[in-house]
């Protein structure tokens, strides 16, 4: 018996409307036909290369895409259709978002006040607890974002979701800039929260770290999820994986010997091959 579904994303597409040099409307598709399900107590890692549109997925769910973005498809939260109005009600209360960089902190506000946010003084104690939890000195609360190192900023951002006490967390690249020990701590923390019944979406380009904590891994390529597989499938030589791109990605890991398939005809590595729904092949025409 599987747990209750928290977030269900069906056929999501995200595109941007803009004007080209001849002032014609042009449309650029960033995400096409994306499906994703997150259940209570589950960590779903979304793994993909930089610039593949992973962050846009998070922004689309949180309804914080820019004005010129157009979305399609449907999203449900606990069975309720996620309209923009519903999302505006849920965000920060039911769903917490952990953004990527220090640029998401107000440069002119002390970070302690930012972690507390609009929750009021009752959240002050939670903020102090969060800082202790993530190994930040209490004096950090009085600093401004420009005074933080990359790792400190990351831990401040993690603290914001800690105080929110939501049912679901969407973390966008929460680990870069942290040293390995704290990175693993932070990921374990997501594990603990998931085990308490929360749902977690972990967006990362680090498949290795994702394998440590996630239950499911969605392999993301060029705005699409090419495959969602249980973490156990990622073992041996990856033969349990359905899509050749997932297998190639897994085999390219250091512990799997940096293996990169090469095109038998022209010798180009599979990193340059074209990927579609069924498989991947080299651009030179050979399979």
């Amino acid at each position: 018996m599987e747990n209750e579904v928290l977030l269900e994303v069906q056929h999501l597409s995200v595109g941007f409307e803009s004007y080209n040099a001849r002032v014609e409307k042009v449309f650029f598709n960033a995400i096409t036909d994306l499906n994703l399900t997150v259940r209570k107590g589950e960590i779903v890692a979304i793994v993909g290369s930089s610039g593949s549109g992973k962050s846009l997925l998070a922004h689309a769910v949180m309804n914080i895409l820019p004005d010129n973005a157009r979305t399609g498809g449907k999203m449900y939260y606990k069975g309720e259709l996620l309209t923009p109005e519903v999302m505006n009600r849920l965000r920060g209360r039911q769903i917490a978002f952990i953004p990527q960089s220090v640029a998401f902190l107000d440069p002119l506000m002390q970070v302690g006040d930012q972690v507390v946010g609009t929750l009021g003084e009752k959240a002050r104690a939670l903020q102090q607890k969060a800082f202790e939890h993530f190994g930040l000195k209490q004096s950090v609360a009085q600093l401004y974002p420009f005074q933080l190192s990359g790792g400190m900023a990351r831990r401040v951002l993690l603290s914001t979701s800690y105080v929110a006490e939501t049912e679901m967390i969407i973390a966008d690249e929460p680990t870069p800039g942290l040293d390995l020990k704290i990175a693993i701590e932070a990921l374990k923390d997501f594990r603990v929260q998931a085990d308490q019944g929360k749902g977690v979406i972990l967006i990362t380009h680090d498949i290795d770290l994702a394998l440590h904590v996630a239950d499911k891994i969605a392999i993301f390529y060029d705005g699409r999820v090419v495959e969602t597989a249980d973490t156990q499938t990622f073992r041996g030589d990856g033969q349990g994986l359905k899509h050749p791109y997932s297998r190639a990605l897994f085999n390219a890991l250091p512990q799997n010997g940096f293996n990169l398939q090469r095109c038998p005809k022209c010798g180009a590595t599979c990193a340059t091959w074209n990927v579609d729904e069924e498989g991947m092949r080299c651009g030179c025409g050979d399979s």
């Binding site: 820019p66 640029a103 107000d106 440069p107 950090v140 401004y144």
Partner: protein, 329 residues
Amino acid sequence: MNKGLLKYLTTTVLRMVLLLIAATMLSFFLVHNAPMDPVDAFLGEVTVSEEQRAQIAERWGLNKSPAEQYLIWLGNTLRGDMGESRTYHEPVTKVLGERFRASLLLMGTAWILSGVLGVILGIVAGMYKGRWPDRIIKTFSLILASSPVFWIGLLVLMVFAVELQWFPLGLAVPIGKIESEVTWAERLHHLVLPALTLSITGIANIVLHTRQKLIDVLESEYVLFAKARGETLKQLITRHGLRNIALPAVTLQFASISELFGGSVLAERVFSYPGLGSTAVVAGMQADAPLLLGIALFSSLFVFFGNLTANILYGIIDPQIREGGGIDG
């Protein structure tokens, strides 16, 4: 820190001195090469003999070389004697003092009015970007920004003074009244139209800048994150908007002092308001070198201190300047 402060003060004072010398030198160069002859301008319709003309020129030091004249003025000014105005037959310091009081009232009112109204309208426009309040405010500001001060002044005069007759046509006090009998209400009554004209022209700039800055802030990543944490538009404005537009608003407000000075020359002229601006025009027309140099010196100082205040306020408002470099840990 103290060493840095000392260095800052030294360079500031040095800059100020250089600015004052440059401004007065340029003014002297201009008035000296102007087509008006100071003696002719002084005498007006009165005819005098060549001998008497020469005596006046001699008394004013006009027969000396321009460099010598300037240096004499500089030397006297350093001792606190700014000479006597040829037009008003009074010491320059006294003329400046009187005129500046009238101007200060006018410019101060316009400055506060345009600053407060400008920021409020800018915030409203930025908040409702693309919707009707924004369109109205933006159109209004663009029209104002592209209209010259004197033209707006004339329009204001036609509507409020000629047609509606709510306010007097000009001057700072009623005609034919002794200075001591003028009431504050009368002064304010005379102040309204010139102050309105002067603030209207400054306001557009402040509205448009504040609007754009607020739009930038509302599109920033930190506001995205605040939204994602459930903050409402009102909370976004009060928690992040105001904080982040404060710095550019202060910059603009203090930088506008120089424009205000320029605008006051035209506004005072249109309303025959006896302030520093209209006095500058008179001094120029009469080739009244001591008075003109005095005004140049005074207005440069005023603008300089405006900018200096802005610099000091930055340090107070912006933690990135106030708290210096980063802290590791």
